[in-house]
Symmetry: C2
Subunit: 298 residues, 2 copies
């Protein structure tokens, strides 16, 4: 595995790489969720049409200051670099790019990418500027790595939707692949922030996913009863809120049922609209997010 | 010459093109200034290191609605497509990309690129949002065409500086080349808007360049006298304003002497700082811009 802290060696590596180059951007503190993204990337990098030549898998580790608010956990964000390096090696990553902030941002940087629709609600409401920071850094990483494909986890559903929108609107020639959320055996979505939970919070946190599962089941039953008609969202949403409210120590940041592409809140569940429940819950200062499709795939 | 109104054929052409691909983005209404940019692009596209294989020259013609304000001349902007096509053929362009607005912008587009330093003054002060529109479309065109090099005219100096800043800050892998302003025999900078001038305005408009030349000469003399010391900008600037004010029918939009990279207004001319005078003048509804270096190249 090649590692690079500077842009120059990445550009040089890219010139010699076979297609497809598949990219997994991360903030480090890698866990099995990231490992699953990397394994997906490795499968995508196997180009059958080029006579068995394999494309390359690039992982970046960059705790992007521009996507943290002034009161957020930038300094506390875990940075276990040696462990991250070992995981990348173990998973067969070809190139690990781990720039320092000064390599990415000039001190007088004045250009940013903004998304003014999908980024405003949900996590964006309590984290103003967060998704502009995400769009800007992802676009920069794409310009440096020039991947054919990039893999993002579905756990950060809003982030995935915003990046798909950016790629569509700016005509960025990168195929975006969303990978399903990896979970602990008890259902808790894998996250670098899980390790910051108190033991009590860690014990009850799986109830977030249980509430989402119950909601999906209820939505499916309601839609089966309604047939081709529409079902009101309000009853389903009320139940989900109730389930989250009773989790000890949990404080709801948001609970919404939205169109999974535009992130517009839905009033009705109807055939042909892909609905998704998105939640954010705080345990003390640790904020967890999760989401689940409410559209029957049967 | 290949022409394409859709993105797909451009992408397909790009995959087969040799490097370097050199790009000249325009809004059409092409004149000898554009022809000079295209000829510069052709020279840059000759890649001596690839055994005589020539890279490609791409021109785009797109009157970008996002860089016009609601009260600006979008609908009046000239669109002489047949003549533009003939000029591109004559100059040996390899690919002409001429998308309609709907090919570039989805109706629910929500992503933009903003520049928050260089874009605020000068033309940006009277055209809010203009340079964000420029950055967004240039970035999109770069994503579609994927040029190695792009050529912009120095006549639009602020635009050139903003694009250089965008390319630097977003790490866009395109080399930006600025090409000196082409002028009529009487010194008027070539512009698509010159044809909109009244005969009287056209007659006196060359005095803009004459004023800039006089300013450059005065600045050079003042600096020669001062030696390695600094020279105050105010006297030079006052003379330039005076020269522009007395042009019959001319109304000054701005006159500034700035650092030519950061566009920060300068108080002093000093060795090592590249100063440039930038002006915008209106004749009725027609707005002309021009600029000149105040730094002695001797």
């Amino acid at each position: 595995m090649k590692t690079a802290a500077l842009i120059g060696p990445v550009t040089a590596w890219r010139r010699r790489a076979h297609s497809p180059v598949v990219f997994v951007p991360t903030m480090g503190a890698l866990h099995e969720g990231h490992a699953a993204l990397i394994r997906r990337a490795k499968r995508l990098a196997t180009n059958k049409s080029s006579g068995g030549k394999r494309g390359g898998v690039v992982v970046s580790i960059f705790v992007n200051p521009k996507q943290f608010g002034p009161k957020e956990d930038l300094s506390k964000y875990p940075r276990p670099f040696a462990e991250d390096l070992a995981l990348c090696k173990r998973e067969g990553v070809d190139l690990l790019f781990h720039p320092a902030p000064a390599e990415m941002y000039s001190t007088d940087a004045s250009v940013a990418i903004t998304e003014s629709s999908l980024a405003l609600g949900l996590c964006g409401a309590s984290r103003p500027g967060h998704f502009d920071g995400v769009c800007t850094v992802v676009s920069m990483l794409f310009n440096i790595v020039r991947p054919d494909i990039a893999v993002f986890g579905e756990k950060d559903w809003q982030q995935l939707a915003v990046i798909r929108r950016m790629v569509r609107d700016l005509r960025i020639p990168v195929k975006i692949v969303g990978h399903p959320t990896e979970r602990e055996e008890d259902g808790l979505a894998l996250s670098s922030r899980n390790r910051l939970l108190s033991p009590e919070a860690r014990r009850v946190a799986p109830r977030i996913y249980q509430a989402l599962l119950a909601t999906a089941m209820e939505a499916e039953e309601a839609q089966a009863e309604a047939g081709t008609a529409t079902t009101s969202v309000s009853k389903v949403l009320k139940r989900l809120k109730q389930d989250l409210t009773v989790i000890p120590g949990a404080e709801i940041d948001y609970v919404e049922i939205v169109d999974e592409v535009t992130l517009t809140p839905l009033k009705k569940l109807s055939p042909g609209v892909n609905a998704r429940a998105l939640v954010a819950v705080r345990f003390d200062s640790v904020r967890l997010i999760d989401n689940l499709s409410l559209t029957s795939r049967r």
